[in-house]
């Protein structure tokens, strides 16, 4: 479920932590971070799909899967 828009890091885990550790934490870096100024003539979604996704351009599309649905970490 995590595509290449996601980054992961391993937080410090203490032997004295009270709860079972989450060894990997993740955050998303949306694609706008890599487009300082949008170039002309980018590929486009079909119009009905663009309306559904919220953007005309696949380069700007950021899916966000619910983290609640996943089991474990």
């Amino acid at each position: 479920m995590y595509d290449n828009q996601w980054r992961e890091w391993k937080p410090y885990v203490s032997p004295l932590d009270p709860c079972p550790p989450m060894r990997i934490k993740r955050y998303v870096v949306p694609p706008n971070q890599y487009i300082p100024f949008q170039p002309m003539n980018l590929p486009q979604f079909p119009l009905n799909e663009a309306l559904f996704r919220g953007t005309l351009w696949p380069a700007l599309y950021s899916p966000y899967p619910s983290r609640r649905a996943t089991k474990g970490g």
Partner: protein
């Protein structure tokens, strides 16, 4: 924990008796974009941000406390010898009634500092963008404060503080780049 050095980060000299300026400087003491907000914002975000940038937040948050001391020193010097009449003439009558000559975490309009000035969204990109915006807003405030006094010694200290905002903004933007890294790294789950 912290180690305290009993000196200011940069000298603060006030050469003009101008309690009026204290009322405006207090914006950087207890205002939304002031040094208290900055320090608390960064030092609080440290806990949940990826470990590559925790040290940066510690360092800058700590430096903001040093800036807070500099602003406090300016305000103190400008108000410590002012009579109630002088404070009232400087627009600090309401402050005097509430606080005497004490400093208080409030903005230039007398509104008390509130935790709603800072955010902790938990999303590293969102948090760092708030930090970048905060630095630019603080830089602007220092500009307007420099515009508002003709005391060249206060201007000198304020220019140092303004320059630090510029450097901090760049460091936070570098932190964003660090968190954006390994873009091409394909992961299989």
């Amino acid at each position: 924990m912290w180690v305290y050095e009993k000196k200011l980060q940069y000298p603060v000299r006030v050469s003009k008796c101008d309690p009026r300026m204290a009322k405006y400087l207090i914006e950087q003491y207890g205002g939304a974009d002031g040094e208290l907000s900055a320090a608390l914002r960064y030092l609080n975000q440290r806990y949940s941000i990826p470990d590559k940038v925790i040290g940066l937040l510690t360092d800058i948050g700590t430096e903001e406390l040093a800036h807070l001391e500099m602003i406090a020193t300016m305000v103190y010097k400008l108000t410590k010898d002012a009579t109630p009449e002088q404070l009232e003439a400087a627009g600090l009558g309401a402050h005097f009634v509430n606080h005497d000559n004490a400093l208080f975490y409030e903005n230039a309009g007398g509104v008390p500092w509130t935790a709603t000035y800072i955010q902790a969204k938990g999303d590293p990109i969102a948090d760092l963008y708030e930090d970048i915006a905060a630095e630019e807003k603080a830089r602007a405030t220092y500009q307007w404060l420099i515009d508002f006094t003709d005391d060249v010694d206060i201007q000198d200290s304020l220019r140092f503080l303004r320059e630090r905002e510029i450097v901090h903004s760049l460091r936070f933007r570098e932190a964003v780049e660090i968190l954006k890294a390994d873009r091409e790294q394909k992961k299989v789950y």
